[in-house]
Symmetry: C3
Subunit: 428 residues, 3 copies
């Protein structure tokens, strides 16, 4: 009975047309052009590498798309247990109409060709969006992205700010900021002005969020102008040779400026908390980052207090931080739960974290899920995974344990999946 | 079959008359006087605030009880998913005989009036205790509480000591200690004597525990008299302007004195570990505290070794500390598990933490649950929540997986719920 | 249906003959000689102590085996809920043919005698191995173990190195190293040579792994020879009076030498991460160690990068570290998950940790389980516990949720239980 109840809830949730509030889609090439774009997703290359395929072989620049797939397929027998590979199988079934549950020498070429036939259709992008029931997806745009040449109501701009906070010591970053803003960056006042210009530009082109990913040690604080000025002088003088402290101070100051602009421009500020970059420099492209799970939202106490009018949709990389996220969302009006990020985006962890959220956080403060995808084909299987878990939790915790009607459970699920995306990102 | 098994176990556990080993009941006004006392519980005001109601509106001092409820009801549609609100619904059904599962403009006045009719009955306190199957509840008494004017066998005194450890730098606290103990507090010897007097007084009036809540950074150690004396001189001279180190040193010294007195007077020392106070100063009353989950029981190593004859019932604020609590209870004879505290008092977290305790901690060292309530009406729904989860874990882990009889599972549950409260707090 | 599916999977997994990749078996006395060897296991003595039996009584050296059991039995009524005691009941049933589910004054002597009758049989060791379906078990050998007088294909040597890393300041350890290696240990070059000699010796006698347990603070790094030399001079001069820093530096340097030798000799290096020794000095023998769960695999970043050709089977003491273990195994080719260690070896924690591994780590990188036993009789019940949980997770996550056939699920389970032990430890 639970199984069929869960299935009914899933089917109803699966009807809803969604907005994906965080992706890495390139709006100029949103869909895949071959199966190599799918299997080239870092989730597969890094797992294939971990399972034993040398990086040099995976990243050989001379490989054709078909050859690249053939190399990766060698590892797939070691990965068929992973949920990551199950996304591929679901995409194959739902998008390419190929029903497989293993990928090996016997079937990969058939899949490659079937996918190619679909991808070659001129309206493939529209087909994928329609089959995935996606109306819009948020992008991850560099601060100097011109945001031109695409439909910003379908591909919603989002200002990604990691470079401004962590890499302003690089001359190239400062130069790009100067060029994109038209403001010569010679002082902290100039930086303030340039950042404001970028916010103005992004908002004028439909941006709906500012976003940043943050390392575990990050503990932002208000930095006064004198301290910022002094840090800036050091960083401007010696660039990346500047001391760790000066760079961190400048970063905190920039971060605070970003929060101020989010307040001015009424943009939510997505914080993605907990990633260490390049932990494994020998890893494949985008497969080098890991984390130290010893992080706490107490590090953001001053921020949450200082910016009561900025909404902070928060993603945590490690599940151990989820209970803090639940508690902080329960207390701070401006803190909301946001999706299940990266290493926490696997079923048993989603289920655990989701249960804790649904039972204790106000229902208008839970943003259910985002795909984090680089190519459109991944939204369908990733969201399907999430919706199955959501259906399971709604069935068990609400319909069975609390005695809710199915309609009420679905109404709650729809709010989590879609309603809160609208009320939080599109309230203006 | 599991469902009906679980239901049968619940019903048997629900027959037992209990003692609630930790509450904040005011023995002079134990039951609510209107629905505003119920909805004014910080669990509702803080969630309503988090969901969007301004603090000024919630805490407007000019509001009548009925007006206060009407303000809070505005937020309830955002909270009906929370377990906290489910407590209200269960209290409404079981205590006020109003069967609702939402609270909104259409029904709140009817609930208000129904509750009022009950609360106006002269024996309402007795009725609530009887319906809740509660025989006694532990209090949380300030060190200078006269403990007079109530039945201490029903309302069991418990010496709360946060102020002595953390706020002795406040002249008002020292003055209250002097006045209540009759000992002028001019030296560390005086403090020792005054604390002893307070223990003596509390024990003479039936106190059954000493209790304290502790921040994550707290790492108690034996402080010798010379060091304590020096810290005391600084604190006595400049009060709250004293340095962090002097205040912490004095706090550790006082804490050690408390442990010594627990040894002398054979009182269990309840440690509630992990809360940061006033993390969100803009929050509603009692809705400002949060935590840093990076805490370890290793911080209490010296304490547990030094006081082998003191029992430490330990509550942890964050679920991540639960495994340490299980392991330390498994090794240290004087460490026992105590309830599911505050942010860890939600169903999915209770279930996880409880499973880990029941499978690895000696059964005579698990204190199942306390309500932490401020008004008597909350014991029934909170304990019911716990007993349902306990029944589920007993059904799945013991009856089904281990092949225990139902009678044996119930016997175990009764020990957790009641037997250990007696053997640990009433052994003398 | 789930229940019977799970049972079928269990029965198939239970057919497989296994190799136990980590134990503390004494190959000269692998099986128990009386029930006192079973109940004398630290899991029982420490729980009995925790439940209230004084250490002096448990460890009274004048007790006969039967008297020792009679003392421990006094505590068993407090422990019958624990999974640890369930191992004893399963061993009693499967190995001694005594069907009990409590141990008390009424039945312990019958069990004692039944066990004795079995243990007195000359082929008892073989019987236990056969009933447990064990083909070989890994040992934990001191670096100066002569490794003589036993069948190293049944009892596979494993070089345990805690003493070299943490206790080289003890003259006795240095002397044993000198004597066993035949190399006078007067310089860091001598230590390098002596360690190499020990690796050579162990490998020549069939060693299949190097292993070490590590405290939470351990954060290994490459130490250059000058720094190591300087630390060595201090340690050699004053032994255990050497400063914490010199000892840690020397320890890091030795640890790095061990990793180099693992590379040279193609031995996996088992890291067992997170234990604090002697947290409770008043505890019973082997019942004094606990932990600080605030540890991160980021502490091993430099190591994993430096030794790409060494496989690190990693055990974590606290479940909170399991997600990091999953993520690091997903990214680093040389990191693999290894069993469920000590305080994390209880059912609800195994289930949670196992789910996270099976859904996200390449299947060739998961070493399912080891018993950690001191006497052969514990392999059967401990592995049975694990196999039941594995069957449950395979049933729910793979057969039901993913639609796998039962045969495919069993094939996966067999790889986890046995295949990976062969491919990781016996690849040369």
């Amino acid at each position: 009975m639970t199984d069929s109840l869960q299935q009914r809830l899933f089917e109803q949730l699966n009807e809803i047309v969604l907005i994906d509030p965080h992706t890495h889609i390139n709006p100029h090439a949103p869909a895949s052009s071959s199966l190599a774009d799918i299997l080239g997703y870092h989730y597969y290359t890094e797992l294939a590498h971990s399972a034993g395929i040398p990086r040099e072989k995976i990243e050989d620049p001379t490989l054709s798309p078909k050859e690249k797939v053939s190399v990766l397929v060698e590892a797939m027998s070691h990965l068929d247990n992973t949920v990551q590979l199950s996304w591929l199988f679901e995409a194959a079934r739902e998008l390419f109409e190929v029903d497989i549950d293993r990928l090996d020498a016997s079937n990969w070429e058939a899949l490659f060709d079937a996918a190619q036939a679909k991808m070659n259709q001129p309206d493939w992008e529209d087909q994928v969006l329609a089959k995935s029931r996606l109306e819009a997806v948020f992008l991850t745009n560099d601060f100097d992205d011109p945001l031109e040449g695409f439909d910003t109501s379908r591909y919603v701009p989002c200002l990604r700010t990691d470079e401004l906070v962590f890499h302003l010591a690089k001359p190239a970053v400062r130069q790009r900021l100067a060029e994109s803003s038209g403001i010569d960056v010679g002082s902290i006042d100039d930086i303030t002005a340039a950042i404001s210009q970028r916010f103005q530009y992004f908002v004028s082109r439909g941006a709906r969020a500012c976003a940043i990913s943050l390392p575990p040690w990050f503990s932002p604080r208000a930095v006064d102008d004198a301290e910022a000025h002094s840090a800036w002088l050091e960083v401007a003088a010696v660039g990346e040779s500047a001391g760790t402290e000066a760079r961190a101070t400048l970063g905190y100051w920039v971060f605070w400026q970003l929060a101020k602009r989010c307040s001015d421009f009424k943009l939510p500020f997505d914080l993605m908390i907990g990633v260490n970059r390049s932990v494994y420099p020998g890893g494949v492209f985008q497969g080098q980052d890991l984390y130290d799970s010893r992080v706490s939202l107490i590090q953001y106490q001053e921020l949450f207090n200082a910016f009561a009018d900025v909404t902070f949709p928060i993603s945590v990389l490690a599940s151990v931080t989820n209970q803090e996220l639940v508690s902080y969302s329960w207390i701070f009006p401006n803190v909301v739960c946001h999706g299940h990020w990266w290493y926490s985006n696997t079923p048993s962890i989603i289920q655990r974290d989701l249960q804790a959220r649904l039972e204790a956080v106000p229902r208008n403060k839970i943003l259910g899920y985002y795909s984090d995808m680089y190519k459109l084909e991944f939204a369908l299987p990733k969201f399907a995974m999430y919706k199955r878990i959501l259906a399971k939790v709604l069935a068990e915790q609400f319909v069975i344990t609390r005695g809710w009607s199915e309609a009420r459970a679905v109404e709650f699920g729809v709010q989590i999946l879609r309603g809160n995306v609208e009320s939080i990102f599109f309230r203006n």
